[in-house]
């Protein structure tokens, strides 16, 4: 059995009990984020492999999109997906994973559990993990929250054409640090994105929702709509009865400091000139 430790957004996650095939799969996917295994982890996940598929959600035939089943208990969170089940203990945060997978399907199970564990860890650290797309121009960070179909991957594709740096088209974290909010990439990607790589945190310059229109436009919205868009975009936590009030309060604090606006965009790169103009710093404008 072997273990590996993955680090991002200032947190270390140690996965222990991996068999050689599982370890190779996880290592190849998260290679750029691996850290020394003797580093003290913030969260430990113990993996228990049993090849008998009885009792696990079966592999589907053909293409599949499915949601991981999550049930919130007082002391722990139960998570289940194709080929695995898990119990995530709330305090201290750690997880036990049972799986019958050891081939390429294991990586899907691994990432599905990792998303949940990382979301809880970062929330515990004061951050919000949002179903979102995010990119940077090297100095400013832009986050676009929205659920499936909102246009996150499309926007990332367009941003890549403009050579903007994509953080993730699926999950990103926002955390408060030294008087301002910063944007942290998470190593999970939807339709757009390759292997995870380390990113520094970026100042959260733009916090936006998405909608479609013929021409690019940025407009404001009410505080209630802004908070609702944030809360709706925080997976796992927004369905947790023990944390949803804290989540809503944090979302309200975020939009007080970084107003959420809505970007309406078409499938072309014109959106960037609108964003670039809207979020140009007053200092930069004055210096022109």
């Amino acid at each position: 059995m072997s273990a590996l430790t993955i680090e991002f957004a200032g947190c270390r996650y140690r996965f222990a009990g991996l068999n050689p095939e599982q370890a190779d799969l996880a290592r190849s996917r998260f290679e750029a984020l691996l850290c020394r295994d003797d580093a003290r982890p913030d969260v430990q996940v113990d993996v228990h492999y049993s090849p008998n598929p009885a009792g696990f959600m079966r592999r589907p035939v053909g293409p599949v999109g499915y949601r991981v089943a999550v049930e919130h208990g007082e002391d722990s969170i139960a998570v289940a997906g194709i080929g695995f089940t898990s119990r995530v203990e709330r305090a201290p945060l750690r997880a036990q994973m049972q799986t019958c997978l050891s081939d390429e399907w294991f990586l899907g199970a691994f990432e599905n559990l990792f998303r949940v564990v990382a979301s809880y860890r970062l929330f515990g650290e004061g951050a919000l993990v949002l179903h979102s797309a995010a990119f940077t121009d090297g100095t400013r960070g832009f986050l676009f929250c929205g659920r499936s179909g909102a246009g996150k991957s499309t926007l990332c594709g367009l941003a890549a054409e403009l050579e903007l740096g994509i953080l993730s088209d699926e999950l990103n974290a926002v955390r408060y640090s030294e008087g301002s909010f910063e944007l942290c990439a998470m190593p999970f990607a939807g339709d757009f994105g390759g292997a995870p790589r380390p990113h520094p945190p970026y100042p959260l310059t733009g916090l936006l929702g998405l909608s479609h229109s013929a021409a690019p436009l940025v407009h404001g919205c009410s505080k209630a709509e802004a908070v609702s868009r944030i809360v709706a975009s925080c997976p796992y936590i927004n369905a947790d009865p023990l944390l949803v009030d804290e989540l809503t309060a944090r979302a309200a604090m975020l939009v007080e400091r970084v107003p959420l606006r809505v970007l309406s965009f078409a499938k072309d790169t014109r959106f960037w000139s609108v964003l670039d103009h809207e979020y140009r710093s007053p200092h930069a404008t004055l210096s022109r």
Binding site: S222, K223, A224, E225, V227, S228, R229, V231, A232, P235, N238, A239, D240, P241, V244, D245, T248, A252
Partner: protein, 93 residues
């Protein structure tokens, strides 16, 4: 699912949370991980139902607060209550 009974009362579903923000209201529906926003009048109606007011009492409160007649207030209230019932944000008590 009828909301027509004038003495009918409602309550926020135990699996939903309601909060007012700058006059508007937000429902977080935990089971679905969904969020609903209601406008100022909607938030006022939800505050009335949280105070255990019946449909008739809500309608009266709406006409006293906003410049609308009883017929319009009743239509707006029942429409919103039906929508919130369908969404699972409130239940009939």
């Amino acid at each position: 699912m009828s909301t027509e009974a004038p003495t009918q009362r409602y309550r926020v579903d135990p699996h939903a949370r309601f909060r007012v923000m700058d006059d508007e209201g937000i429902f977080v529906l935990q089971d679905a991980g969904e969020v609903l926003v209601v406008n100022e009048v909607g938030a006022f109606i939800v505050e009335q139902l949280k105070a255990e007011r019946s449909l008739d009492e809500m309608v009266t409160a709406i006409t006293e607060r906003y410049a609308v007649d009883t017929e319009r207030a009743h239509a707006d209230a029942t429409s919103l209550l039906d929508e919130l019932l369908r969404a699972g944000a409130i239940t009939q008590s």
